[in-house]
Symmetry: C2
Subunit: 203 residues, 2 copies
């Protein structure tokens, strides 16, 4: 059903009519995501993106129809799952490793916070945010838990299992609000050891 063609009608064979290379396109996306992280969604402007990437507004509007669609496309280009590939053979160590990874890019990836409320106004933006940032991370975390259950480290119906993803992301995002500093790797690892593992009945 060529569902990915909803983005842009490129790759229609061998003839590339657009002079925008994939690398150039990624520059646009990187620029807009950086500005969103810095100023928030409402504050960014197409004019600002055009200026910071030294392209013209016309070009942006030729490729994407509106600002929310442009941002949504940028989000979809951002599929970098931090929790993918963690598999140490032990659930406890997997969770510690996840905490470390999350802590290391804690201060950087504030996209979710920056998009915050803007997402409630635009359906496409909301879907793009969920599919690009939320669901892949949650799925990777659930996969870690599933393997732990499969190895018999935790009973499949353990009531704390359901809350692990919300806990991890919640604590990650609340520490700046509560204590005024980022949730670094050390903080998160101690959290896993003091709360998550004991609640799961692990050492």
């Amino acid at each position: 059903m060529t569902s990915q063609a909803a983005d842009r009608p490129e790759t229609v064979g061998a003839s590339r009519r657009s002079k925008i290379t994939p690398e150039r396109e990624q520059e646009f996306f990187d620029a807009v995501l950086a500005q969103i992280r810095e100023c928030g969604y409402d504050a960014i402007t197409m004019e600002g993106i055009a200026a910071s990437t030294r392209c013209s507004k016309s070009t942006l509007y030729r490729q994407w129809k509106t600002k929310p669609q442009f941002v949504a496309a940028a989000l979809r280009s951002h599929r970098r799952v931090r929790f993918a590939g963690i598999d140490t053979g032990s659930l406890a160590e997997d969770l510690r490793q996840a905490a470390r990874v999350a802590g290391e890019c804690s201060g950087k990836d504030t996209l979710l916070q920056a998009l915050g409320h803007a997402v409630m106004q635009d359906q496409e933006l909301q879907r793009a945010l969920r599919e690009a940032l939320v669901e892949p991370e949650i799925a990777a975390l659930r996969e870690i838990l599933r393997r732990g259950v499969e190895r018999g480290e935790v009973p499949a119906d353990h009531p704390a299992l359901e809350y692990v993803p919300a806990q991890m992301f919640g604590v990650l995002r609340m520490r700046p609000v509560i204590e005024g500093e980022y949730a670094d790797a050390d903080y998160l690892v101690r959290f896993v050891e003091a709360v998550v593992l004991p609640a799961l009945g692990l050492p």
Copy 2:
């Protein structure tokens, strides 16, 4: 040092020069906070507030100099601490009670989410948000924990103690993002029983 006079130079004795009664003032504050919850900080306008409260823009600008100062004043008027007054005599029951209270007004008080990133631009707004919304709730929760320690239910140096506030607020705010529905009282109480209490070594 009359540090509270930074808000408005009212109550300068018996002569009330402004015709705005405290009740009327609260209407302004309620209106702006409601609109922030609904549309986010960036989307609200002084004109919109004036229209919805049937006062004139002039009046708003006479009382508060700018939009961020107006919003900050509204935040400061919002000192309603949900977790205050919880004291059942048992730490476990206090936490369950806190979960219930939090879950009941979960969908309503999205102020923190709505202000989101706007707070990073204005120092005064940031301080007002912390002092009005964050710190009182955290303090009330810490008070609940302190009493539990005092009663000997939990050792004072239990490593999980530090994370309880971040956990509660974190899970409260992450469920809508992760699962797409509000964290109701039932969800939060089950969370307390499945995670928070076991991590603290309570039944």
